[in-house]
C-alpha cells in the first residue's frame, strides 16, 4: 500500500461523560474511497470535525500530506488541501450558488485581498467556478440564491465548493442525507469519478451507496473502530453484523 495522505493516530475526544472518539486510528490513501459507517451518535461526525479542525482532539495525532496538522486551525488545514462538507449544509445563503463557489476559487488562487476590481467582471474566476457547478449538474442554478436552493442542490453545492478547492483529500459527512433516490444515484456516479482526483473519507448512512462506492470500510460504534476492511470483509464480519448491520442484512442500518 502507498503512503497514506491522511492518517489519524489514536484520536480521542470526550464530551463530558460521552466518549465520542476512542483511540480512532484511520488512514486514507490515494485513489480510494474510505467509508466510515456506524449507528447514529457513534462518533462519525466527531472524527470529521477533528480532522477538519473544527474541534480539537483531547489526545492523539493527525498527519496530513506529510505533516502534523493536529494543532492547526480550520483555515490552515483547508489551505493545505483538506476539503470538507457538513452533515447539515453550510453555505452563504444570500450569495448565489456561483458566488459560493467563487469564494473557494479565489481562496485557492490566494487572491482574496483585492479591494477594487469587481469580482463579477473577473471572467477567469467565474469560469472556473462555473466549471465546478457543471460537474455537479448545477450550472442552470448558478444565479439562484444559495439559500433558495432545494435541499439536494445545497448538498451538491457543498461538493462543488469542495471540488473548487482542488484538495488533496475530501471529508464528506453524509453527502446523500435527505436526497431522493434519483439524486443519490447521480451523486454516486459523481463521487465515483472523484476518487482519482483526491481520496475521499466518506461518512454515509446509505448502505447501498457505501457498498457501491467504498474501497475500504471502517465501522465505528461508541467512538471505537470495531472493524476495518474491504466491503466483503465487513459484510462477513460477525461483530459488525451483530453491532450494526443487523443479522437480516445490510438494510438494517439506522
Amino acid at each position: 500500500m502507498p503512503e497514506p495522505i491522511l492518517q489519524t493516530e489514536k484520536l480521542s475526544k470526550r464530551f463530558g461523560a460521552v466518549v465520542a472518539s476512542d483511540a480512532v486510528t484511520l488512514d486514507l490513501v490515494a485513489g480510494e474511497i474510505h467509508a466510515l459507517i456506524g449507528p447514529n451518535g457513534a462518533g462519525k461526525s466527531t472524527v470529521i470535525k477533528q480532522v477538519a479542525g473544527e474541534i480539537r482532539q483531547d489526545s492523539g495525532s493527525i498527519r496530513f500530506a506529510g505533516r502534523d496538522i493536529g494543532r492547526l486551525d480550520m483555515v490552515a488545514r483547508a489551505r493545505l488541501g483538506l476539503a470538507r462538507t457538513f452533515q447539515v449544509s453550510s453555505i452563504a445563503p444570500e450569495f448565489s450558488a456561483l458566488q459560493n463557489v467563487m469564494l473557494a476559487v479565489q481562496s485557492v488562487e490566494r487572491k482574496t485581498f483585492r479591494f477594487l476590481k469587481p469580482a463579477r467582471s473577473d471572467t477567469s474566476l467565474k469560469e472556473q467556478a462555473m466549471s465546478h457547478l457543471v460537474r455537479l449538474l448545477l450550472d442552470d442554478r448558478a444565479e439562484i440564491r444559495a439559500g433558495d436552493l432545494s435541499h439536494g442542490e445545497k448538498r451538491a453545492l457543498e461538493i462543488a465548493i469542495a471540488l473548487a478547492l482542488r484538495p488533496k483529500a475530501f471529508l464528506l459527512d453524509e453527502p446523500m442525507a435527505g436526497m431522493g433516490p434519483e439524486n443519490t444515484a447521480k451523486l454516486i456516479e459523481i463521487l465515483d469519478g472523484l476518487r482519482t482526483e483526491a481520496p475521499i473519507l466518506l461518512v454515509e448512512h446509505d448502505m447501498d451507496a457505501v457498498f457501491a462506492l467504498a474501497d475500504r470500510i471502517s465501522v465505528i460504534v461508541y467512538g471505537r473502530i470495531i472493524a476495518s476492511g474491504t466491503p466483503e470483509q465487513i459484510r462477513a464480519n460477525e461483530e459488525v453484523r451483530r453491532a450494526y448491520l443487523g443479522d437480516e442484512g445490510h438494510d438494517g442500518a439506522a
Binding site: Q106, F115, A119, L165
Partner: protein, 326 residues
C-alpha cells in the same frame, strides 16, 4: 437603472443642491447643516463597511471618529502655538494642512481599530457589541482625564485647517471638500463590496464557518474591514473637528457611537447612500423636531423605536420598495 440607484443619485444631487441654494438665498446655516450631513454621512459610510457588509455590530465607532478629531485638533493647536509635538528622537511640528492631517488621522484611527478590532473579534454577537462599546468608553475616559489637550473641556482650534487652492473658511469651499470625500468614500465602498474582498466579507458575515472551510480566515477578513471602517470614521472625525473648530470628549462618547449607528440603520444597512441619507434625515429631524419641542429627542426616540419595530430595511429600503435587512 434600478430604483435604488435612482434614489442614490437623487440623494447625491440633493445634498449638493442644498448648500448652493443656501448660498443663493443667503442662508449660511443650511450650508453648515449640509456640511454636517456630508461629514456624518462619511462616518456612517465607514461604519456601514463593518456593520452592513461585515455584520460587525460595532457600538464603538465614536472612538475612531473622536481620535480623528483629536488628531486634527492636536496637530493644529501645536502649529498655532509654535510648539513641536516631539523634539526627540526627531522634531515633529504641528500642522494646519489638511493634506497632512488627514493621513495622520487615518493612520491613528486605523491603528486604534486594529487593536480594538483584534481583541473584539475574538468574540461575536452580543459580546462584540459590548466590547466595542467598552473600548470606546476607555478612550473617552482617557481623553477626559488627560489634561494636556483640554481634558473634559475639550480643545478649541482657532483657525480652520487649510487646503491648497481653496479658502476653507468659505463655507461652500469647505462643504465641497467634505462632499467630495463623502462621494469618494461611497465610491470606494461600492468597489469594495463588489470586489473579491467584498465577496469574502459577505461570506464572513453570512457564514464564517463556510469561509474558514474554504481556507479564508474570517478573522483576517473582518479585521481588515474593521480597520478600513475605522479609518473612514477617523477621517470624518478630522473634518468634524475642522467644521466645529473644536474637539471634545463628547465626540468619543457612546452617544456618538449610537448616533453613527442610527444613521446607518435609518438609511438602510448595506445601502451605499444609506448612511448619508440617514444622517440627512437625522439632522433634518433634529432641526425640525427641535422647533416643535425642546424635548425633540423623545419624539426621535419614539420614531426610531417605531422604525425598528415596523419598518425594516431603512429609508432607502422603503423607498426602493424592498425591505432587505442586515
Amino acid at each position: 437603472m434600478n430604483r435604488e440607484a435612482a434614489i442614490s443619485l437623487l440623494i447625491a444631487a440633493g445634498l449638493l443642491a442644498a448648500p448652493l441654494l443656501g448660498n443663493a438665498f443667503d442662508e449660511p446655516f443650511v450650508i453648515t447643516l449640509a456640511t454636517k450631513v456630508a461629514i456624518l454621512g462619511l462616518a456612517g459610510t465607514g461604519l456601514n463597511i463593518a456593520l452592513g457588509y461585515g455584520g460587525m455590530v460595532s457600538l464603538g465607532h465614536a472612538a475612531f471618529f473622536g481620535l480623528g478629531g483629536y488628531v486634527a485638533g492636536i496637530l493644529a493647536s501645536h502649529a498655532l502655538n509654535y510648539e513641536p509635538l516631539f523634539t526627540a528622537p526627531l522634531l515633529v511640528e504641528g500642522t494646519t494642512q489638511m493634506l497632512i492631517i488627514w493621513p495622520v488621522a487615518i493612520v491613528v484611527s486605523g491603528v486604534a481599530a486594529l487593536v480594538i478590532g483584534a481583541l473584539s473579534l475574538r468574540t461575536t454577537g452580543v459580546f462584540f457589541i459590548m466590547i466595542t462599546l467598552a473600548f470606546a468608553q476607555m478612550v473617552y475616559y482617557f481623553a477626559i482625564s488627560w489634561p494636556a489637550y483640554g481634558g473634559e473641556d475639550g480643545l478649541s482650534i482657532y483657525i480652520r485647517s487649510e487646503f491648497p487652492g481653496l479658502n476653507t473658511l468659505n463655507p461652500l469651499h469647505f462643504f465641497a471638500i467634505c462632499y467630495v470625500l463623502l462621494i469618494l468614500a461611497i465610491g470606494f465602498s461600492f468597489l469594495l463590496s463588489q470586489s473579491r474582498f467584498g465577496l469574502a466579507l459577505g461570506g464572513a458575515r453570512q457564514n464564517a464557518q463556510r469561509l474558514a472551510t474554504v481556507g479564508i480566515s474570517p478573522f483576517r477578513v473582518k479585521l481588515t474591514a474593521f480597520v478600513i471602517s475605522g479609518m473612514m470614521a477617523g477621517l470624518a472625525g478630522a473634518l468634524y473637528a475642522d467644521l466645529n473648530r473644536f474637539v471634545s470628549p463628547s465626540m468619543l462618547s457612546w452617544h456618538t457611537s449610537g448616533e453613527i449607528m442610527v444613521f446607518v440603520i435609518l438609511g438602510g444597512t448595506r445601502r451605499l447612500f444609506g448612511p448619508a441619507a440617514g444622517a440627512a434625515l437625522y439632522i433634518v429631524l433634529e432641526n425640525t423636531l427641535g422647533d416643535v419641542s425642546e424635548h425633540w429627542l423623545l419624539l426621535l426616540g419614539a420614531l426610531l423605536v417605531a422604525l425598528v419595530l415596523f419598518a425594516r430595511g431603512g429609508v432607502i429600503g422603503i423607498l426602493a420598495g424592498q425591505t432587505r435587512h442586515a
